[in-house]
Amino acid sequence: MITVDLELATVRELNQRLHDLPPDTNERAWTIVNPGGRHALLAGLTRPVSITVEGHVGYYCAGMNEAAEIVIDGHAGVGVAENIMSGTVRVRGNASQAAGASGHGGLLVIEGDASARCGISMKGVDIVVGGSVGHMSAFMAQAGRLVVCGDAGGDLGDSLYEAVIYVQGRVTSLGADCEEQPMADADRAAVADLLARTGIPGDPARFRRYGSARRLYHFHVDHADAY
């Protein structure tokens, strides 16, 4: 276990050390202490290392993550796991706005609440939120699954493409071109699988599915008011 204290090392030194790890590195288990809400921690990792951050992180933590398994034992600022490619990022507390924005793959787990625009423009990442998500979540989301065990704020799934949203609680309102769709057995199985993999409690039978009505894919003058 390697411990890095951010009261002693700079963020740049830490990130560089992680970027310099060779593919066959033995330095696979890391603990980061005293993160103090600093920004851009653990951005751009490409090796299958396991890292626990003990405390709260600032903006864009674990951005562009590839292969690494990251646990943030605290709250995360704006854009946690932005553009995640693979691997897992888990936030034990709450996440701020735009969690998992434009994520291509991998898994983002938020045990607490996520704020506005969770999963905005997601492109294949799976996001599981133990609590609720804020307004405009999954805005223009293209692929992947967003599972919300609590409630969803206003304008959920506005201008949605082919990402699928599952919500266990209440939805304040749906955004343009987002509609509730029937839960098929495959949907319940998908939710059950994601809950089991993440250890987030939830009842797959209580989730509702939301997806794109596909009315806004191509501009049609009859739909001009819907944009």
Binding site: H56, G58, N94, S96, D113, A116, G134, H135
Partner: protein, 299 residues
């Protein structure tokens, strides 16, 4: 960008530490705004029938004692000035209106930064660390305080254009964002008797809330009305004599974190600002919802 912070103490035992805690919060937000910084601290009230007026003059050696003595002679009542950096807190045994009118008539060269029985306002160019040190923020006690560190977008970088803006009695505002309808609103509010000192957009928001409070609104009602009348991006933190409120615009693109313990309520642009507070690791932490007023008060 800009950084804003607010701290409202629930535990009286922390009052001597208010300035020290706010200074730490403000310095944490230094990366968000290096141009200027400022803070408003609600401190021990001036005696009944008196008012505290925070004044600014660019010359740090300005003769505040002479100004206070002249004021005392003119009203035949006590007046005292306590200098702090290039500001001074003038305590006069007079009503707010006449006191400000006397200053405007006899000392147009000094600028009023804030006024009321409790509020003291200090702001200046420079980073938050430097500004906090210049005014010895760490040595200030009080019940609640707001701070701001500015990256200017809408108007010039001067002491007068710095935040907080204190347009009404005991009221101050810090703002992260920008308003787009401030010119029209400023004209309307000026017609209603609100006086503005700059062309800054945030000062208009302060004037707007001051006006609503004068019309009898509660702080929370005034801020809810602002959702309809203020057009732009904003996270506001507003202080009054015994209250503190936070509001984000309906899109909520400007950040804000709230945290509460049994001892305090704190607001910061980022978690970093709250982290140095005692007990922050066990605080309830959440992100304020868009278009929702969060208000705390003291009975």
């Amino acid at each position: 960008m800009c950084g804003i912070v607010g701290l409202f103490l629930k535990n009286e035992a922390l009052r001597p530490d208010l300035g020290r805690l706010l200074a730490r919060m403000l310095v944490e937000m230094g990366d968000r705004g290096p141009d200027s910084a400022g803070f408003a601290v609600y401190r021990r009230p001036a005696p009944e029938g008196s008012v505290k007026i925070t004044l600014f003059h660019p010359d740090p050696a300005h003769d505040w004692a002479a100004l206070a003595a002249a004021f005392a002679r003119s009203i035949d009542r006590p007046a005292a000035a306590e200098p702090r950096g290039n500001h001074a807190v003038l305590t006069v045994s007079a009503e707010e209106g006449p006191a400000r009118a006397w200053l405007a008539a006899h000392h147009p060269e000094v600028r009023v930064m804030g006024f009321g029985r409790r509020i003291e306002v200090f702001k200046d160019m420079g980073g938050p660390d430097e500004v906090a040190r210049r005014f010895d923020l760490a040595g200030m006690d009080g019940t609640h305080a707001l701070g701001h560190t500015r990256m200017a977008t809408e108007s010039a970088v001067t002491t007068e254009h710095s935040h907080p803006f204190a347009v009404g009695s005991e009221l101050c505002l810090v703002h992260n964002g920008s308003l787009s309808n401030h010119n029209r609103l400023r004209r309307n509010l000026a017609r209603a008797g609100i006086r503005f000192g700059t062309d800054n957009d945030s000062e208009v928001a302060a004037g707007y809330f001051a006006h609503r409070l004068q019309q009898g609104d509660s702080l929370a009602d005034a801020m809810r009305a602002g959702l309809d009348d203020l057009d732009g991006f904003y996270t506001f933190a507003v202080g009054t004599r015994d209250g503190f409120a936070v509001l984000r615009d309906p899109v909520a693109c400007k950040p804000a974190i709230l945290a509460e313990t049994d001892d305090w309520v704190a607001m910061g642009s980022e978690w970093k600002a709250i982290a140095p507070l005692p007990g922050s690791a066990r605080a309830r932490v959440w992100e304020p919802e868009p278009a929702t007023v969060y208000a705390w008060g003291r009975a």
